[in-house]
């Protein structure tokens, strides 16, 4: 089975005591009340696109309500900036995600400001935590896919 952010724990449980809190963080970032899991799912798919992570793109996160597939297709065609199905907050978050992927140092104040305006300060922090762990799990899943070969 391909390694993805969703099943990465199957590979990492062998680490021992750190594995349980690692999974606890994963559940917490998807369940916190400040950023909807459906918005995080858009971010996960956008990060998967940027990483060219085919296995990651093929899954839908069980911790989020399913998104319409035509909206996902629009996201993956990079139409989220103009597609009216994406809310203002979703656009602000996706724009932030792309800057974050390049480098957190490069994020312009106005890009971060739009996220804070839409999600509030706790939502901003919840988002950057989630991006860190989602992106990190995609990265390690890609490495473990090669280690499994």
């Amino acid at each position: 089975m391909p390694v993805t952010s969703a099943n990465l724990i199957d590979q990492l449980a062998i680490a021992g005591e750190a594995a349980a809190p690692f999974e606890e963080v994963w559940r917490a970032i998807w369940n916190q009340p400040y950023v909807a899991a459906e918005i995080l799912e858009l971010c996960r798919l956008n990060l998967a696109r940027l990483h060219r992570a085919e296995a990651e793109l093929a899954i839908r996160m069980p911790l989020a309500q399913p998104l319409p597939e035509d909206k996902i297709a629009s996201l993956l065609r990079e139409n989220w900036m103009t597609d009216q199905r994406f809310s203002q907050v979703e656009r602000a978050v996706l724009n932030f995600t792309e800057w974050y992927y390049i480098s957190p140092q490069s994020i312009p104040d106005e890009v971060a400001g739009e996220v804070i305006a839409g999600l509030g300060e706790s939502g901003f922090v919840a988002l950057i935590e989630a991006l860190g762990f989602i992106d990190g799990r995609i990265r390690i899943a890609l490495i473990y896919s090669r280690i499994q070969d």
């Binding site: 590979q11 990492l12 449980a13 062998i14 680490a15 021992g16 005591e17 750190a18 594995a19 349980a20 809190p21 690692f22 606890e24 963080v25 917490a28 970032i29 369940n31 916190q32 009340p33 400040y34 990483h51 060219r52 992570a53 974050y100 957190p104 140092q105 994020i107 104040d109 971060a112 400001g113 804070i116 300060e121 706790s122 901003f124 922090v125 919840a126 950057i128 935590e129 991006l131 860190g132 762990f133 992106d135 990190g136 799990r137 995609i138 990265r139 390690i140 890609l142 490495i143 473990y144 090669r146 280690i147 070969d149």
Partner: protein, 171 residues
């Protein structure tokens, strides 16, 4: 990097650097993240100095001033010197670092740059040198170090330089 912090840490100090940072604005995640950080250091099948070398490589790549200035006490007690820290830079392959330290740095670099293109040769060496538990722990620790340092940089408001400071690994 944002010169002024984009959000402020909550009032009240607990003494825990993670809980007292802006991450404390999300109480639902801050405790799990603090527990993960504790286990990354206290439950490691990898020696502390090797973990610290990986953490510092991440800190320098992400350019997190706080993370770059910190030295964990466990790592120093395990033999991490500033001379060794100086070698965690581009060109480390030709440094005097030990083979397992260079291999751990290559793992960190694969993660930090383009993980999809990790070479089959490096993947084989990682599997050969580290036990499955050690490699899994290194992966978990690297995700935690990277995610939290990118949080700090995304929030902003860090000074340009900080002196090296030793901190105690969380109990």
């Amino acid at each position: 990097m944002a010169a002024v912090a984009r959000v402020q840490a909550p009032q009240g100090q607990t003494g825990d650097p993670i809980r007292d940072s802006a991450l404390g604005l999300v109480p639902e995640t801050v405790d799990p993240i603090a527990r993960l950080n504790r286990h990354a250091w206290r439950s490691s099948p990898v020696r502390a100095s090797l973990l610290e070398i990986v953490r510092l490589r991440n800190a320098r790549t992400v350019n997190c001033q706080f993370c770059k200035s910190v030295r964990y006490d466990l790592a120093r007690r395990d033999g991490l010197t500033e001379s060794k820290v100086d070698q965690i830079r581009d060109g480390y392959e030709q440094s005097a670092l030990a083979d397992d330290e260079k291999l751990a740095l290559a793992f960190a670099d694969a993660y930090l740059h383009d993980p999809k293109t990790i070479s089959a040769e490096l993947a084989a060496r990682l599997k050969q040198h580290f036990t499955p538990a050690q490699l899994a722990h290194l992966a978990i620790a690297l995700i935690a170090f990277n995610a939290t340092s990118r949080c700090a940089v995304s929030i902003g408001g860090m000074p340009d330089n900080l002196p090296v400071m030793e901190i105690t690994a969380p109990e």
